[in-house]
Symmetry: D2
Subunit: 365 residues, 4 copies
């Protein structure tokens, strides 16, 4: 088996532009890294072995860019794509950064804001279609509330559905080959966000006019923030035919949104997830939605991006070993035939840990 | 407005038999209260003003009861119901207490156990129908895993669905007027439980053969264990027409399953939930699925049960005050018309807190 | 008893300048409110009934202010204090905002940064002494790590102690009447922060050269982020004679740092804390370290600040009622004399809840 | 380096008798495994390579054993120790299982219960001394409360201290070579436990009459329940000279007390802890305080116990590799000399992960 763990385009690794472009601004401190134009991120990611990028509209051009500025920025981005061969796997609208969205976009109580948000999405859908993106992500970063009285939840959910219905209609009218993926998150930056979990998104999709056009974009960190088992969530999405995309990163449960390097917080959970994606034949992007520690300069950002991919490749290799390990597979074959005896799960789990840690050697069946 | 907060049958309060019958056995200690036969629980609950009960089969008779013992126990229970006029609102199968279910019932790897579980449910469905229960609860207390390799999650979800499909068919064949309600829980007693949240249950229902027969039974504590906003979950279930039942209790987030007295941990959240149920016209049981502290004797259990109902009634009164409060309603009327100004949520939330604490006096609009 | 809940200076309410000056910048969005100069915050807080303020050096003047700018800003601040009569209760050094502190200040691996940090503190200690502050707060917002290998924890704790020892020495040499209070926090903005809890700070103080000069500044939200009982922590600090200050706000457990209005998330916990502070005769500032929701303009900020104080006053009144309630006090008198009977805690807790909700009426003993 | 990971007595592995003897009783289900007498546990643990055991008094004999029964049970236990050569590293009193302790032992409001508890400890201290235990553990499993009014926290802390002072005095009078180690836990089985964290225990010790006799017994799972970094806590205890013992196991944050096999939930955290213990030269027992999944029979219990030790040995080997890895050590040497550049923590952390996963090969410096 390969032991060099150097990514190639066939591995289908992608990154958000923001993930390498994040300057380190947080609630308590200012930027630690200079701005990174979108095109520069594209060149860097191509060098490292990625095959695609996701972009938020305002990763490429500023919210208040003039048409000329917008065109110039898109042009540079497009040129970088052409030169590197990177694809745009997905696109997104930033509906959370600007003060106008402080109470949400699709679920804002103010009708004008809801309308503005829809227009912003439509405009970026045009761009996304033009750039070849086939999946459009919705992360409702301000769709929520801190105070129970602030929003009528039923109205909020209705408005959320209404917005997505209208956008599905728009995509159909335009004839775009784009499908939607909603990304759940339980909280932060709002006290509580609507559609907090993969399950709630799956249930919500069933209420839409075109459920076949809409899937889910689970993010490891977002499920883990709520202490939920991300693999169980991903498996439910897969079974429902709704795993349209996935965001890989890491996170300690019960904390602020950490967006750590994939596999760096809970490698056992990451292993289970990689194994699942590979076993079921998920063929979408292995997308990293994380960022380098704020302690790093751009060398550290490169280490971060490379590390995400390397860890995926190591875990993929471990997953293949697990499937080929005679002792492990013998235990697996027995599951369901042990009657009321002890079920052997301690042994299976320990063998898995030892395999993960690289001390199983070859136990091929 | 009433200030005595004495429950009556019209308030539709119900309790699980186990809630008053719990003897205080936990992982670290033995029983602190003597056993309470089901019929005794019925008489006690009737005295306190409840109108209904839920029962697990093994709350009434032991797992290994002989047919004669079973009949005797059911007879005593039935007699108590007749004498008190209490109704059986819901019934449940205990599929978690016996060692045979240590790896689950519907999702057990062992086929014999899955079959036994289905037979146990069917037998209790017959009893439930006979006793007039219209809702049958499924809480999969052992449907989960500690170790990723132990169960194939997709197979587990398939088996879960297969079990429920078969039971739906059974209910239809028998002509019972019973519908199902699945109760989610994120973890405990298993490391991770399948169908961890209200959202995941709603999504799961859509995959069943008879989704119209199956709804959700949200439990306050179970959503709060994962730090999720229970009202948001309940609202999504309501909007989907799936709020078939509700379990009221309380819980600090990120801890063991506490099953505290309703409103005793987070009264603001409880207020929001009561207000929602009353505002939308939920007409099912206000069901308490909690227990008295282990420090208590049966006097304390009575205080606990009475407290659950009193707190509900107090919060219901507060909800009506909120709807009638002129200053609050003026703010609510403005939601959506404040443009990009400040949204007034601090003021609205503070007024709500003051109303909740009983210092708003009369501010009728 | 008073029912108007209008704060007066005798109530000893104070606020951080940042609490009303926060512009709403977070990880996901930009400023929603214009900047508020320190002097303006002073006038506003005085109007609302506060008696004091805390300031971080860079709340008053910018990190890179020229001497002239610094003097001008301090002059305006001082003038506002004089005109309003507000006191400076406490001061703090901002050792977390500037990029140079990205890996900490006292615990940074880089010696130059540690030295710079000490010099920054000393300079601000001079200002604090001059402005009459008697307590100096240390919150080590970047003293921590994301990665286990990044810092030697033992070295980090040694450096932390070394820094505080040096600063104690400085205060003694200068003859300032200032004592220190360390504010613990478990995480955010670092993956893990050193000295995460009140207990860890108390233990750390014992290792310093002048433990008598150093106490703890518990913050409600910071203990609750880790799901800990803040009252238990405060009580331990009080018993140790180390409750030098307290930061009041609110927070849902297991989430990002929310800094909500005091009492708005868990009012029962807030009640217990107010009751404790009043019962033991804590005579320091009742300090609010929170901020208005990002949805608000400066009217909402005023509502927020007023709400913090009003809630405290309501809860203080409720605490007095609890101490005067005959039925409650009869139960309290019995604690310890119930032998192995049930302990009556359900009843006591329910009475407490009803008192809190304002439905106990008068039950004076 | 060794790759067989077979424990020997020199590795100083110990287990609680309860860890292998736990029958699987939890809140939701009954025993799944037959009882295991203490002596049988000793023989089993000896076979597996352990060198010592901890015992709770009621692990060896029942709470209500007659003197003859007690003697017989102790005799069998002692015989097993003699025959196997296992040592008794530590002993403990069960002050949580019996209903009389439902509101605590040292902190119970009822004076008679406090006295009984002290007598129970003294009697077991005699036995512990006789069996050669040098450390005596205090885990206050019921020392806490669910309701704020139930106990006066200050009185509770005073009583806790009073109890320990008296017991220190007893040990001194008897001339036993025994020191105490207090084990913190944040919650479960009580709503909140007193002395919830390592920090709070360290601070509490300073208030005792003989602080030199008392240390801390950190448990991995207990710190992680509160989402705290267990290594940071252990390091603070070590620096204070108070790491008298350690309980190794594993746990997902923000959940019920899981007591999983060491390293099975968060292997990166386990690695950091093993590395610390080995690097600083901790020479106490590597004690496992965990249990096998409830799905297991006694074969699974054996797998569990063996797995704890194997994982420790693997991680110890990995720690040595980390210290010998040239690339890693070069980065470590640079810490503190990178000025305001990026700090290289992403790279260091990724190298650590790769080393942990066994793909670093030999990079000896």
């Amino acid at each position: 088996m390969s032991t060099d763990y150097v990514p190639s385009r066939e591995d289908r690794f992608s990154f958000g532009l923001w993930t390498v472009g994040w300057q380190g601004v947080d609630v308590f401190g200012s930027a630690v890294r200079p701005p990174m134009p979108a095109e520069r991120a594209v060149y860097k990611l191509a060098e490292l072995g990625a095959y695609g990028v996701n972009f938020h509209d305002n990763d490429v051009f500023a919210f208040d860019a003039t048409p000329a500025e917008r065109d110039e920025r898109i042009g540079a981005f497009r040129k970088a794509l052409t030169e590197t061969g990177l694809v745009v796997t997905t696109a997104t609208t930033n509906l959370f950064g600007h003060p106008m969205f402080k109470d949400g976009a699709f679920t804002a109580n103010d009708r004008e804001i809801r309308r503005f948000a829809l227009a912003k999405v439509m405009r970026n859908l045009d761009l996304a279609a033009d750039l070849g993106a086939r999946t459009y992500i919705f992360w409702g970063g301000r769709e929520g509330a801190e105070s129970g009285g602030a929003k009528d939840i039923r109205a909020a959910l209705d408005r959320y559905a209404e917005g997505l219905n209208l956008l599905c209609e728009y995509v159909r009218e335009q004839g775009y080959e784009i499908r939607f993926a909603i990304e759940p998150k339980p909280n932060e930056p709002r006290g509580d966000l609507y559609l907090p979990t993969v399950g709630s998104v799956l249930a919500f999709i069933a209420t839409l006019d075109h459920p076949e056009m809409v899937g889910v974009n689970p993010e490891v960190a977002h499920e883990q923030m709520a202490g939920l088992n991300v693999l169980h969530a991903v498996a439910q999405a897969w079974e429902a035919g709704k795993l349209f995309h996935i965001d890989l990163n890491d996170q300690a449960p019960g904390r602020y949104d950490q967006d750590f390097r994939f596999g760096s917080a809970n490698v056992k959970s990451a292993f289970g997830l990689v194994k699942f994606l590979e076993d079921v034949g998920y063929d979408g992007p292995r997308h990293f939605d994380a960022h380098a520690y704020r302690t790093e300069d751009y060398d550290g950002v490169r280490d971060f991006a490379r590390g995400c991919m390397r860890t995926y490749l190591i875990l993929r290799e471990r997953a293949r070993q697990w499937n080929a390990d005679g002792e492990i597979q013998a235990l697996v074959a027995e599951l369901g035939q042990r009657g009321r005896r002890g079920l052997g799960y301690e042994r299976l789990d320990q063998l898995t840990m030892e395999l993960l840690l690289g001390v199983r050697g070859e136990n091929l069946s």
